[in-house]
């Protein structure tokens, strides 16, 4: 599997599409425990991303990912802006000037993204955040090498399990933390959007391979 700059843009557009499709669902999740804007914010952000990267087919993968991050931090509005923004910017730094990515770049990209989110949000696993979906996926991708589509499928499954896990825990970060124990029983919108993005990437790569 190799993904060039134009294909990377297609994958990001697919993420944007799936975020768009799940806009109401994400907002609904956020209205239960947060400020009811996650779907709208993410959709606004990725719409802007869509436009911004459409002409970047001749740029390197690092620049494309960094542009995604920069766009998110100025258009999302909510906490997911600086969090996902930092994630994409760190991912961009990690791949640098490469014009083509392969499976083995995946753990590097997602690990950089995870570290970025942890730094920005000062959060760890178990606090009902994006990290509860992303960290298990990164752990799977790092456990064996070379990375292949099977391992990627397993990583997406781990992210999905991570989303399920957020239902049973208390929110420690963001607006949901004001709810304390009352946040139990609800799945975290951030973990959910993270899973949606990972699943979109998997789908794109899977379809390309077949």
């Amino acid at each position: 599997m190799a993904v060039n700059s134009a294909e990377l843009i297609e994958i990001i557009n697919l993420i944007a599409h799936d975020i768009q499709e799940n806009k109401d669902f994400l907002t609904e999740l956020d209205s239960a425990i947060g400020d009811a804007d996650h779907g709208i914010n993410m959709s606004k952000g990725f719409k802007a991303v869509n436009e911004k990267i459409s002409t970047m087919g001749d740029k390197d993968c690092g620049s494309i990912l960094k542009t995604v991050g920069m766009t998110l931090v100025s258009t999302v509005g909510g906490a997911s802006g600086p969090l996902y923004g930092t994630a994409f910017m760190r991912a961009g730094q990690a791949v640098g000037a490469k014009k083509e990515l392969d499976f083995n770049d995946l753990p590097i990209i997602l690990d950089a993204a995870l570290e970025g989110i942890k730094m920005r949000g000062k959060a760890e696993k178990g606090e009902k955040t994006i990290i509860d979906a992303l960290e298990p996926a990164v752990e799977v991708l790092k456990k064996s090498s070379p990375v292949d589509i099977k391992l990627m499928e397993e990583a997406v499954k781990a992210a999905k399990d991570g989303v399920e896990y957020t239902k049973g825990i208390i929110a420690k970060k963001g607006r949901a933390s004001y709810l304390g124990e009352r946040s139990i029983g609800h799945q975290d919108p951030g973990a959910t959007s993270c899973y949606i993005m990972l699943a979109a990437v998997y789908k794109a790569i899977h379809d390309k391979n077949n």
Binding site: D35, D37, I40, N41, K44, V73, S74, T75, V76, G77, G78, A79, S80, G81, P82, L83, G85, T86, R120, G121, G174, R175
Partner: protein, 143 residues
């Protein structure tokens, strides 16, 4: 242009940026603060998104910090959540000499903002202005 009148307590000119999800809230806070500051310091609002939703915007914060910077520093007062993270990102992406002279106050939004603005209007240093904001953390309103 704001007409800046230097007062005798100090010579520093620290600017203040109010970062909030809501432009209405930050504008309202600024309005109350201006009543006592009367143009002695530069205070700006970086609040809401460019399409008028509730939220914060890293680039807008950066722009406002540069606008109020007069050489002695800028204190950012964030409301909560993304305001804190966006402000941190804005500071990271600023260039020197502004970057190392821009700080984030860990304080209640309005009480911190008005105390900081008062202190800044006396010509106090960035550290003193920040301290004034953070001293409001446990402030009692009712005796």
């Amino acid at each position: 242009m704001i007409n800046i009148v230097k007062v005798k307590w100090g010579d520093a000119l620290v600017g203040i940026v109010l970062v909030s999800h809501s432009k209405k809230m930050a504008d309202g806070a600024k309005e109350i603060i201006e009543q006592v500051i009367r143009g002695k310091i530069k205070i700006e609002v970086a609040a809401g998104t460019s399409d008028n939703r509730l939220g914060t915007d890293v680039f807008l914060i950066e722009e406002k910090v540069m606008e109020v910077f007069d050489g002695d520093g800028v204190l950012i007062i964030p409301d909560l959540g993304s305001a804190v993270m966006s402000a941190e990102m804005a500071i990271e992406s600023l260039e020197e000499p502004i970057k190392s002279k821009t700080q984030l106050a860990d304080s209640p939004f309005f009480e911190g903002a008005i105390s900081a603005a008062m202190e800044a209007s006396f010509g106090k240093s960035l550290e003193e202005v920040k301290q004034a904001a953070e001293n409001t953390r446990g402030m009692k309103k009712i005796a």
